[in-house]
Symmetry: C2
Subunit: 421 residues, 2 copies
């Protein structure tokens, strides 16, 4: 089974096979109960005794009333019963439609997964082993090390997202750093691009993306480019790229490169607790089903089906006539917080790294970042320390507009206090 899948990749998208791990090569979706249940359903059997889930005497879902009482506007079937492996087909199609404007012409049908972490972890299953050089942004969301390092034992190389200027506010997107990181690839590489960046809150300009693409094309090694687009759509300045950068990679040679896009409802639809992400490949129509099956097989061997209530909720939002308006309202609020925060910081000359997107700003501290974090806790301000950049990450997504000036004032005072020492 898996041999046949791998053979299709060898012909249709050679890089996908070159970069694939042993596990990735072994993965295929076994024909089991879900498949036989599907056959009985399609055959229209009046007696369907295939699957180990429960139906009532009326053939409908039979949830416990104490759970049923929490759900409205969704059917019990879509809330309480199993959904298809890899996600409901209607949800996958709806997400495909949702992203179609930002994608090249040919891409796989998005496979649903358990949120962004899971999408990245699936990429690690398929492409990262101890012989893989993994290029990760620095600073980064801490879980990257766990997903790409601790678990599959990839060789981690850092590239610094911002090339630091003497005044950190003049720092720029660090193409040179990415080039240097790419040069570390021995056999095969995985380049993780997190745009908009967490924790930097930076999205590059079109010309910076152009330079990035050139840097990638200059490499001679087989490479997977993983786009972590958790914060896609939350760009607050017109000078940066708006939305996904996937289209930029459409002309990369499939003999050498494979591009995977990981995104989802977690941040983009503000459904943090839902755990609905998507994995989508830039590839031709023959490779697509193979890569989709590898992803679904990875999911089958770790968590199997995905949460039905969350899937139904995301699908309802995607189908809503008012979705754009609903998302726009919240983005508008975040943009106002961004503007208020930036203005307040400028007034106090707070030394921040350039930021234009997502939920964050990095502020350079005059002292140890962890010391600053602890100090700010005593002043009523909770931030995250980013020791590698001697900075604190300030997230404005959880702080109300009216509190932002006061919060920045406390932070600026703290910076001043330690500056003087």
């Amino acid at each position: 089974m898996e041999t046949k899948l791998n053979e299709i990749l060898r012909v249709e998208h050679p890089a996908a096979l070159t970069v694939m791990t042993g596990l990735g090569k072994r993965l295929y979706f076994p024909k089991g109960v879900p498949v036989q249940a599907g056959e009985a359903k399609r055959a229209g059997c009046p007696f369907n005794a295939t699957i180990g889930e429960l139906k009532g005497e009326d053939g409908k879902a039979l949830p416990l009333p104490s759970m049923q009482e929490t759900i409205v506007n969704l059917s019990s079937e879509e809330s309480f019963l199993y959904q298809a492996q890899g996600g409901r087909p209607d949800l996958r199609q709806a997400w495909s439609d949702h992203i179609s404007g930002e994608m090249p012409q040919s891409y796989s049908l998005p496979v649903a997964c358990m949120g962004l972490t899971h999408g990245l972890s699936i990429c690690a299953d398929l492409f990262v082993d101890p012989q893989t050089d993994v290029l990760l942004p620095s600073p980064r969301w801490g879980n990257y090390d766990v997903i790409f390092g601790m678990r599959p034992q990839g060789r981690i190389h850092n590239y610094t997202v911002m090339e630091e200027a003497p005044d950190v506010r003049n720092s720029g997107f660090n193409i040179k750093g990415i080039k240097r990181a790419i040069a570390n690839i021995e056999q095969k590489g995985v380049l993780v691009l997190n745009i908009p960046s967490n924790p930097v809150g930076y999205t590059p300009t079109s010309s910076e993306v152009e330079e990035l693409l050139q840097a990638i094309e200059e490499s001679t090694k087989p490479m997977v480019i993983v786009l972590d687009e958790a914060y896609k759509g939350m760009e607050w300045e017109s000078s940066s790229v708006q939305g996904s950068i996937a289209k930029s990679f459409v002309n990369l040679d499939p003999k050498q490169f494979l591009v995977v896009k990981v995104d989802g409802a977690t941040k983009e639809l503000f459904f943090f607790g839902g755990r609905i992400g998507f994995v989508t490949f830039l590839c031709n129509k023959k490779s697509a089903p193979v890569l989709e099956e590898k992803v679904i097989a990875s999911i089958r061997s770790t968590v199997s089906a995905l949460p039905s209530p969350s899937q139904a909720m995301v699908l309802r939002a995607l189908r809503s006539d008012t979705l754009q308006h609903e998302v726009g309202e919240i983005r508008g609020l975040l943009r106002r917080r961004y503007e208020t925060l930036k203005r307040a910081m400028d007034e106090r000359s707070v030394p921040y790294f350039p930021f234009n997107s997502a939920f964050f700003v990095l502020v350079r501290t005059p002292n140890d970042a962890e010391q600053m974090r602890q100090y700010l806790l005593t002043k009523g301000v909770g931030v995250v320390s980013v020791p590698s950049e001697q900075a604190i990450r300030v997230s404005y997504s959880t702080v109300s507009l009216d509190k932002i000036p006061k919060m920045i004032s406390i932070i600026a005072d703290a910076l001043d206090a330690f500056q003087e020492e």
Copy 2:
């Protein structure tokens, strides 16, 4: 960090370390954003800018209206925001209370996971590598091979659940088969016990469990015993063990044995689409937090947080005064289906393997099981083929009471038709 954890296990539960994989030994939970966010919360910071989730101007969750409109009787915070790694503490405690009657005195706080598959996959992360002999029931739920074989490359050995008699209806629980399988363990073993069994639908008697325990104790190899208790509580005959068999293992020597219980809301609370399972260890109070952290670290590196709506729904059910009654109603319906099915089969002398629990019965076919499945599809009956036993699995959980006699009549006719050939 992980060295300290492993050292505790070496002293407090040596077998846990002896059987642990390289990945299991490496796993620890990194102090990241969730921990720093927790500190800011506990410090009561009026300005909490730690976490990348969204709060409205009133400090509350701010979901999209089209999703919000699906939830009642749960707060937006518990439905839309992130919950603690390893599951909400109140949910974990509620499940601990839920199982306390069936557990020995000392056990770990259950860690929530994404359903039964995920619980088993976590066990594979911790305990299965190419040097591990994994003893699996036959016939079995097909995903076992993917979880314990394809992914971590454990050496799979089968034991036949039922020792077949000339008339399959007289078959018995196959202790000898388990003994033979245990003899295959070279360095270290993982014994997976699926009770009640899927697809056999059999739960052993107390004396059979006693014999099983003896067979385990006779082994001299380090061993993890994984209890897959998906169908726990669905025993339809008083002659079999009722509920979990965990207590039987309380006196196993921690120098040689570790017992892990995997259960969850999927079947036990009829929440198939929820994806809420639990992993619980039989161990002392010093090993418990270490093993819990290993599990949470495994989760963190694959799917991170768990679905919030599902967690809130399960917790609501566990806290409901009417839970026992609600579950009892559904179990009562299943029991009536079981009795009706058994009576109908006895009337037609259908050759079934002994069954007394869960949702299934295995019926011996006179011909190839897959051929019989295909034939039954044309007669309007969907079943699952189990070629290893030359049997079909008939699931009565999805067939209404009034349809069961007719369904059995069709099956019996089909058996007769092929018998005569």
